[in-house]
């Protein structure tokens, strides 16, 4: 899709007003921050229009003028309000430099179909901006938590020191608290004890059942599937309530085994879904071939089928693991203080004594989920490659 359309430089009457418009929007924010909205808009528009004109028509060299603008605005920002403003100014400068030349050289049309009208081109880019905004919405909360966890104060917001990038504003004290506090350490230990056991149970039972479900003739397949997937669908509070009542009756409430069983039940749908998805592309003639050459069912399973569906099994296991590791509602009801897991500790922390240690834990957990996500993605690709469903 590269260089679909021949491009040419655009006239001054096009790109200068567009840059001015963008400058005006930027000026709006700066202006309101200084309590002078209108002046901000006008000044921003005029300034940016002039800069764009000078860069393209007077200096004419792309690289130097873009870097020059970046440096200029960074310095201007620093003079105005210190390091944070310098960073913002620099970013603005880089953006406007790029934007001016992007418009001037006509690069914006490079990758889109030549027959589009200007209105359609405008929509094309507005649409991307909207999508970008949604993606920013998705990722911001996760990104915001990370720097806040290094806060030197017990606040949940950025302190002036942090915004000034003053090293005194940052510290590892919340991480130290996490590693030294017996409550948190006990919670981690419990989570690490419960999740693998639950995962093992759901993967063991789940894989067998998924293989059974993928056979060509299974009576009541739809009903069985609906029952096995239901732990994912039934609201957690209902599962938790039911298990609380029932497990108290049979004496499993407040025990390690009770929590493990409950979590295993919750993880099963994920194993079933991922493993059956892997088995969809499984070529059954392979097992027949193995049987033909004298392998017993057990050998066939471990030597032929298992290696092929292993990626699906592992990612199902990871799903089950994260389900248990992340689960709080059921453990809140089925467990007792002795089974306090990490999410439970976070939940009480959020509800009662708010402490920024939660943010340190959150950052560590984001790290864990990044690792898990990477593993699952790699496995998925490997599995698709193995089954020849998509090119490498």
């Amino acid at each position: 899709m590269s260089a679909l359309t021949p491009i040419s430089r655009t006239p001054v009457s096009f790109y200068v007003p567009v840059v001015a418009l963008a400058g005006g929007v930027a000026g709006l924010f700066v202006g309101t921050a200084w309590n002078a909205t209108l002046i901000g808009i006008v000044a921003g528009a005029i300034l940016m229009a002039a800069i764009a004109f000078v860069m393209t028509q007077v200096i004419k060299l792309e690289r130097p003028s873009r870097w020059g603008l970046t440096a200029l605005l960074a310095v201007a920002g620093f003079m105005a309000a210190g390091i944070p403003a310098a960073v913002i100014g620099g970013a603005f400068g880089w953006l406007f430099g790029w934007f001016s030349f992007w418009l001037y050289e006509g690069r914006y049309r490079e990758r889109i179909a030549p027959y589009l009208t200007p209105g359609q081109v405008l929509w094309h880019f507005s649409f991307r901006v909207i999508c970008g905004a949604v993606l920013v919405f998705l990722i911001t909360p996760i990104l915001v938590v990370m720097p806040l966890s290094f806060n030197a104060e017990n606040f949940f917001t950025f302190t002036p020191e942090m915004l000034r990038f003053d090293p005194a504003g940052y510290s590892l004290k919340h991480y130290r608290d996490f590693f030294n506090n017996p409550d948190w350490q006990q919670a981690v230990a419990n989570s690490v004890k419960i999740a693998p056991a639950a995962t093992l149970l759901s993967v063991g039972f789940g894989t067998l059942a998924a293989i059974g479900l993928s056979q060509p003739h299974v009576p009541f397949r739809r009903a069985i599937m609906a029952i096995l997937i239901s732990p994912m669908i039934v609201p957690l509070i209902i599962s938790a309530a039911g298990m609380y009542f029932f497990y108290s009756r049979i004496g499993l409430q407040g025990t390690y085994i009770g929590v493990v069983l409950a979590h295993a039940a919750l993880g099963i749908p994920f194993v079933i879904i991922t493993v059956t998805a892997t088995l969809v592309g499984f070529d059954n003639s392979l097992t027949r071939a193995a049987a033909n050459m004298g392998a017993g069912p057990v050998t066939t399973f471990f030597r032929v089928q298992m290696p092929l569906i292993l990626p699906g099994v592992i990612s199902g296991g990871l799903f089950a693991f994260i389900t248990s590791f992340d689960e709080v509602v059921v453990v809140l009801f089925v467990g007792s203080a002795g089974q306090k897991t990490l999410p439970w500790q976070m939940f009480t922390g959020l509800r009662e004594q708010i402490s920024p240690t939660i943010l340190a834990v959150a950052t560590i957990l984001v790290g864990v989920s990044i690792c898990l996500l990477t593993v699952v993605e790699l496995l998925r690709r490997r599995s698709e490659r193995l089954r020849g469903m998509s090119p490498a």
């Binding site: 899709m1 202006g31 309590n35 909205t37 929509w123 999508c131 949604v134 993606l135 919405f137 998705l138 990722i139 909360p141 938590v145 806040l148 606040f155 917001t157 950025f158 039972f205 067998l208 059942a209 059974g212 479900l213 056979q215 060509p216 003739h217 299974v218 739809r222 609906a226 029952i227 096995l228 239901s230 609201p235 509070i237 209902i238 938790a240 039911g242 298990m243 029932f246 497990y247 009756r249 409950a262 295993a264 099963i268 994920f270 991922t274 059956t276 994260i322 992340d326 999410p343 939940f347 509800r351 943010l359 959150a362 957990l365 984001v366 989920s369 898990l372 996500l373 993605e377 998925r380």
Partner: protein, 545 residues
């Protein structure tokens, strides 16, 4: 395959007909599949389905009334609750006996709080009655004891009420021996002559031996036993034929029992608390006396049981219907905003070159894989009064410092945070459906003269509807039962029905109501689940692209 008639039916290698041999193979295949599934199915049925079924039973269970007040319930059977007369004195007497026993077992407060859900004041009524019930029967006890100190002691009662062999065994038993007490065996002669006394004493003996674990030979009988003895004697029990232990004392008592001061239980009860003369209390008792009740379900839709059948609660006590409606509306809003935000992203992911799309996909999958509590705490941090969002808005000058937006502890907070949390569940199905829509259709529409909008609305959009359907049902199902996020960022005005269920389980301990609310929620979710299975197929749930 047609059978060859001339050569007989087609045969398999082992000589049986091919048809039956194939059938057998198929049967074996089915059996093998079921054998593989069976362990998991049993596991899920035991650990997951059974608890939920148990919870559903709990929503109609009501044995507590008839278990705690068996005699009262039996005696109320003949009472007409729709009339305006109070129950007869026998019912009050039965109530006295029931509460006396319940008090000893410490069950009367439990019943009180159970009935308090239906009629406020019941809890204190039962507690108060429990405190005073002891004194009520002592009138008879005192008179028997005044008549003859014989009646004071357990040592004298046991030989009268128990079989001789048991009395010997019981007297030989000591607590230190560590062995269980010899179980009480009634004296058959007395059981015939003094049936009520024997019944009450058996109850008392069972309680002392099995619940209190006290030595029966050293525990004096309850006051109820004395009033039962009075009843037996005053109704003309024939003790002339009795010759066993205590025969002389019994005859002495029988001779004077007619002159005993009697207790009017209905007056006594009313004296303890005038609520016992209120028709409401008795109607509530009667209405809730059956073993199973629809009361919890009626409560959960703001109705109540009354003698004239179900009726709406007064306007100011209505709460649950509004909560259900709020949960539904907020789930719809969340689903709507997920469609609004998810559709463009799904579209762009499906139409970008796969390298860029995979990169952007990470931005969708990372929140999906991140712990729910991490995301919820992030939103709590961001939406606070002094949080990042408000700080940014103030810094930009969009909001004045003294009028920061209230974004948390209300429904706004719940909607924002839950839209973020559930958005991946919308984007992923949308993406997988949009990925299969051929680009050429839209191009063809445009080349036939459709405008952009027409091409999208008439050609592309209808093909993406399955994705919207799948995503919406999934998001709606998940949001309608959400607990954690509304609990943390929702406050009171942004809480869901789940929060109320949790409250009834862990704080108010009204488990029946929690179970009924849960059952209603479960029915809604199961309906949607069925629809999802119909429309999308359970097999087609996608996790992570």
């Amino acid at each position: 395959m047609t059978d060859n008639v001339a050569n007989g039916p087609m045969l398999a290698a082992d000589g049986t007909s091919l048809k039956s041999s194939l059938n057998r193979a198929l049967r074996r295949q089915k059996l093998r599949a079921l054998m593989l599934i069976a362990p998991l199915l049993i596991f899920v049925l035991l650990t997951f389905v059974a608890p939920i079924v148990d919870m559903l039973f709990r929503s109609v269970e009501n044995q507590i009334v008839s278990d705690t007040l068996p005699r009262t319930v039996a005696s109320l059977k003949d009472w007409d609750e729709e009339g305006d007369t109070l129950p007869p004195p026998e019912t009050y007497k039965a109530l006295y006996e029931d509460i006396f026993v319940a008090k000893e077992r410490k069950l009367h407060t439990r019943l009180g709080s159970r009935l308090n859900y239906e009629l406020t004041g019941m809890s204190s009524l039962f507690r108060k009655t429990g405190r005073r019930v002891e004194d009520m029967g002592e009138v008879y006890q005192d008179q028997f004891e005044d008549l003859n100190p014989f009646w004071k002691d357990a040592e004298n009662w046991n030989p009268v009420m128990g079989a001789p062999a048991w009395v010997t065994a019981q007297n030989a038993w000591t607590k230190a021996s560590g062995r269980p007490q010899p179980a009480f065996v009634p004296n058959p002669a007395i059981a015939d002559i003094l049936p009520q006394t024997a019944a009450k004493f058996a109850l008392f003996a069972d309680f002392v031996q099995n619940e209190d674990n006290d030595n029966l030979s050293k525990t004096d009988p309850w006051a109820v036993v004395y009033s039962a003895l009075y009843d037996d004697l005053s109704t003309g029990a024939d003790i002339s034929g009795y010759t066993g232990p205590g025969a002389q004392e019994l005859q002495e008592a029988a001779a004077v029992v007619a002159s005993f001061e009697t207790v009017d239980f209905s007056a006594a009860m009313t004296k303890v608390d005038k609520d016992w003369s209120s028709l409401d209390v008795w109607q509530t008792l009667k209405v809730y006396s059956p073993d199973f009740t629809s009361g919890y379900f009626l409560n959960s839709i703001d109705m109540q049981k009354s003698v004239d059948g179900p009726e709406m609660r007064p306007e100011n006590q209505q709460f649950y219907i509004r909560l259900f409606v709020r949960t539904l509306i907020m789930s719809l809003v969340i689903t709507g905003s997920c469609i609004l935000l998810g559709y463009p992203v799904g579209f762009i992911l499906a139409n970008l070159p796969s390298k860029t799309a995979n990169l952007l996909m990470i931005l969708v999958l990372l929140p999906f894989w991140t712990s729910l509590l991490v995301r919820t705490s992030a939103w709590k941090v961001m939406l606070q009064q002094q949080g990042v969002v408000n700080d940014t808005l103030v810094w930009l000058g969009l909001v004045a410092d003294d009028s920061r937006l209230a974004l948390i502890n209300n429904s706004t907070g719940t909607v924002i945070a839950m839209t973020h949390i559930l958005l991946p569940f919308m984007i992923l199905p949308l993406y997988s459906v949009m990925k299969t829509i051929p680009v050429s259709y839209v191009r063809a529409a445009k080349s036939l003269g459709a405008t952009n909008w027409t091409a999208f609305w008439r050609v592309y959009f209808p093909q993406s509807v399955p994705g919207i359907g799948a995503g919406s049902i999934l998001v709606f199902i998940l949001s309608i039962g959400y607990y954690i996020t509304p609990e943390i960022v929702g406050g009171t005005s942004g809480s869901f029905i789940s929060n109320q269920i949790a409250y009834h389980i862990s704080s108010s301990l009204n488990w029946g109501l929690a179970a009924a609310l849960g059952a209603i929620l479960l029915v809604v979710v199961m309906g949607l689940y069925w629809a999802y299975d119909r429309i999308v197929g359970i097999d087609n749930v996608k996790l992570g692209g």
